[in-house]
């Protein structure tokens, strides 16, 4: 193959072997499988490890695909595909909770509304698919920021968004967030993460409604609604191939 870079070819071959092995091979077996010297294979694996494309089990020394590689793939989830897959579950959530439902993805310091189901009371509502909401104050945004912060390690590096890092850590740990929806304090949101097949958070799914309906007097979500939101987010995750 003229014009190809040999070390990239070799790295690709290694990744294919590692992907196929399901994390059962050490450096000797990998070197054997790709037909390279053990030292060459070792240095290539060290680079792949450094960029996060492979992981190494500390106790056994065996290699598996890294989160960095999986993230590349997860970025390819098409938002229209996401909406189509989530649609039945979003409808069911709106119907059970009696509240409006939104599905959103993170776009810098905003979230993009990918799907919107009306509150099932037949009142006049406007479809807001394609609009942007602030990430820092909305429940949907907090869920997405929390997972982004998690990926970048321990609550740093979520861009210039002014957020409460303690709250984000909490959101990440408990798996849901509450927040505002717009400037109106009388409306509150409740959201949970949707995970793709790689286990990474790809979207947030949530409801919004009158604060007194969504939250109790102390600002905690009503347990019945919380269960519905968590179940729906989990159902969509399963639909996307997440097995957890």
């Amino acid at each position: 193959m003229p014009g190809t870079v040999q070390s990239i070819e070799r790295a690709a071959a290694i990744l294919q072997v590692v992907a196929g092995s399901g994390g059962t091979l050490g450096v000797t077996e990998i070197a054997g499988a790709v037909g390279l010297a053990k030292t060459t294979t070792h240095s290539l694996l060290r680079t792949l490890l450094a960029v996060g494309f492979v992981d190494q089990d500390r106790s056994t020394g065996r290699y598996s695909l890294g989160a960095g590689l999986l993230r590349l793939g997860a970025g390819h989830l098409d938002v229209n595909e996401l909406r189509a897959r989530a649609s039945n579950w979003a409808d069911a959530l709106a119907s059970r909770s009696g509240q409006a439902v939104r599905l959103a993805t993170l776009a810098g310091d905003h979230v993009d509304v990918v799907h919107h189901v009306f509150r099932p009371d037949d009142s006049v509502q406007v479809l807001d698919v394609g609009t942007r909401l602030p990430a820092a104050t909305t429940a949907l945004g907090k869920v997405l920021l929390a997972s982004a912060a998690g990926r970048h390690g321990g609550g740093t590096g979520v861009g210039d968004v002014a957020v409460d890092r303690v709250e984000l850590a909490e959101v990440r740990a408990r798996g849901w967030a509450t927040g505002r929806v717009g400037p109106d304090l009388g409306v509150s949101g409740l959201a949970a993460p949707v995970r793709g097949s790689t286990g990474l958070v790809v979207a947030a799914l949530g409801i919004s409604g009158p604060t007194s309906v969504v939250l109790d007097g102390r600002g905690a979500p009503r347990p019945a609604l919380l269960t519905m939101v968590l179940d729906a987010a989990q159902a969509v995750s399963r639909e996307l191939g997440h097995s957890g």
């Binding site: 595909e81 189509a84 409808d91 119907s95 059970r96 799907h115 189901v117 009306f118 099932p120 479809l127």
Partner: protein, 501 residues
């Protein structure tokens, strides 16, 4: 208090789904199984009735198990089915004489040309409410009688039974060779060309015209009312409703008032408008069909605009051209450009149905220039579905005089916001999607539940309907699209001319 659930079986073109609904019309459990598509020759499409019966039994048994632990009893079964698909079987053994001829199958084209040329052909449109076309079940039944060895002789001797899919399933569910009930519902019967659409009885002259023996036909029953007991299920439950799938969607969308209309966007698109107890004779290319009938009540009619290719065009972009990996990605691709770039796709893959009824038409892409990209093609493909909706809506409004206040939509393509907004703009009418997307199954469940008293009346069903999304026409866009419409009409004329012999 224990809830009362209703089981719906949606026997569709690609799969069979069993769904359990609660009294609020919410889905409680769902199981689905696809069946094989057989394409023995170009234009021929067949399904194995035994496979479909096995899938029905299996998915129904699974959902009944799924809800066995729930606090509710399943009290009735409703069936919705792919329409016009034709089965003939042996009443003694329960074995089909061959595979089912599917509604997409075009093998009867020659027969239809021959029949249409007969001097007495006008009685078909007059009695059956629609012109002779290969789309309906009657010509398929005739084809089987003509081509399957000894079929006619055995049918005349009373050994063979005919049915559309719901008839086949009900017969099997109620015992098959051991006392199976041989019935069809009035909506399915209205798709055979063998029924008088006013009296809702098999018509002797139509039977003579198509040369079909009366002994093999099922008894015609109302869509809402007990048809028999499904002893093949455990627990055995009454089969209390049956409707063709598009009529089921109309029912599930609670389109009970004259003028109410829905359009289902799946493989094809099917727009039905309730015309009440009055049968409207179409002059503009819609079909006059039965909408539904409640036991003991007069038949309700509908006008229908059937379009063969809607989502199927998106599938073709995916499988035929490889432009996209999944159907929803067509929207992403279409949004890479701002308009159709002057490009029009007429998806007349096997002719055009409503309102043109030109079997000879073939697909084309008009307006190709070097400027056109795959993004424009994707947009033109989506727009084709919108333009075709406008074609049928215009025809329908001309026939019924009922103008459309809003269009209720459902089906796989309704998660496509670009398309739904285009439909709203091209019709200059609000487009509304209900909370329960599975309107076909829901309609079957409603029919059955109504018959056994789970719901008191259609008003109770209307209270279950809620809007989940609405697309409102943008006046400037609507005006621009009206000005553009003649270009689409020209592309359609070209596709008809292209296919002309």
């Amino acid at each position: 208090m224990t809830d009362r659930y209703v089981l719906a079986v949606d026997q569709g073109t690609t799969s069979t789904r069993s769904i359990v609904f609660d009294r609020s019309g919410r889905m409680v459990a769902v199981r689905q199984r696809e069946h094989r598509q057989h394409f023995p020759r170009p234009g021929w499409v067949e399904h194995d009735p035994m496979e479909i019966w096995a899938n029905t039994q299996r998915t129904a048994a699974q959902v009944l198990r799924d809800v066995a632990a729930a606090d509710g009893d399943v009290v009735a079964l409703g069936i919705a089915n792919q329409r016009e698909t034709t089965v003939v079987w042996d009443r003694a053994t329960g074995r089909p004489v061959g595979r089912a001829l599917v509604w997409q199958d075009t093998r009867t084209a020659e027969l239809v040309t021959e029949l249409s040329a007969r001097p007495d052909a006008a009685i078909v449109a007059e009695r059956a409410g629609m012109d002779i076309a290969g789309y309906f079940a009657g010509p398929r039944l005739r084809w089987i009688l003509d081509h399957v060895p000894r079929a006619r002789e055995r049918a005349e001797a009373g050994e063979l039974l005919f049915g559309t899919m719901e008839t086949w399933l009900i017969w099997n569910l109620t015992g098959g060779p051991e006392g199976g009930v041989h019935v069809t519902d009035v909506t399915n019967a209205s798709r055979t060309l063998l029924m008088d659409v006013r009296t809702c009885r098999w018509d002797a002259d139509l039977l003579a015209f198509f040369d079909v023996p009366a002994v093999m036909l099922p008894e015609i029953r109302p869509s809402v009312g007990v048809l028999g007991t499904a002893t093949a299920l455990s627990p055995a439950i009454p089969i209390a409703g049956a409707l063709g799938d598009q009529q089921a969607a109309l029912f599930g969308q609670v389109c009970f008032a004259p003028g109410d209309a829905k359009c289902t966007y799946g493989t094809g698109s099917f727009l039905l408008q309730n015309t009440g107890t009055e049968l409207v004779r179409s002059r503009s290319g819609s079909i006059s069909t039965v909408a539904y009938q409640l036991a003991g009540e007069p038949v309700r009619y509908a006008l229908e605009g059937s379009v063969a290719v809607a989502g199927a065009l998106v599938q073709w972009l995916r499988d035929g051209l490889g432009l996209i990996a999944t159907a929803p990605e067509v929207e992403t691709l279409a949004r890479t450009v701002r308009d159709n770039g002057g490009c029009y796709v007429v998806p007349a893959f096997s002719g055009l149905l409503a309102p043109h009824w030109r079997g000879e038409a073939r697909g084309l892409v008009a307006g190709l220039t070097g400027y056109v990209t795959k993004g424009h093609l994707a947009r033109a493909a989506l727009e084709a579905t919108g333009w075709q909706t406008r074609d049928v809506v215009q025809a329908m409004e001309a026939d019924s005089g009922l103008s459309l206040a809003a269009l209720r939509v459902d089906g796989g393509m309704t998660t496509n916001n670009l398309l739904m907004q285009f439909v709203a703009d091209v019709l200059d009418t609000p487009v509304v999607r209900p909370m329960v997307g599975e309107t076909v199954s829901l309609g079957a469940a409603y029919a059955a539940g109504l018959a056994v008293g789970v719901w008191s009346d259609v008003e109770a069903l209307k209270r279950n309907w809620h809007r989940s999304a609405q697309w409102t026409p943008v006046p400037a866009r609507a005006r621009a699209l009206s000005a553009e419409y003649p270009r689409w009409e020209r592309a359609v004329q070209l596709s008809i001319a292209w296919g002309a012999p």
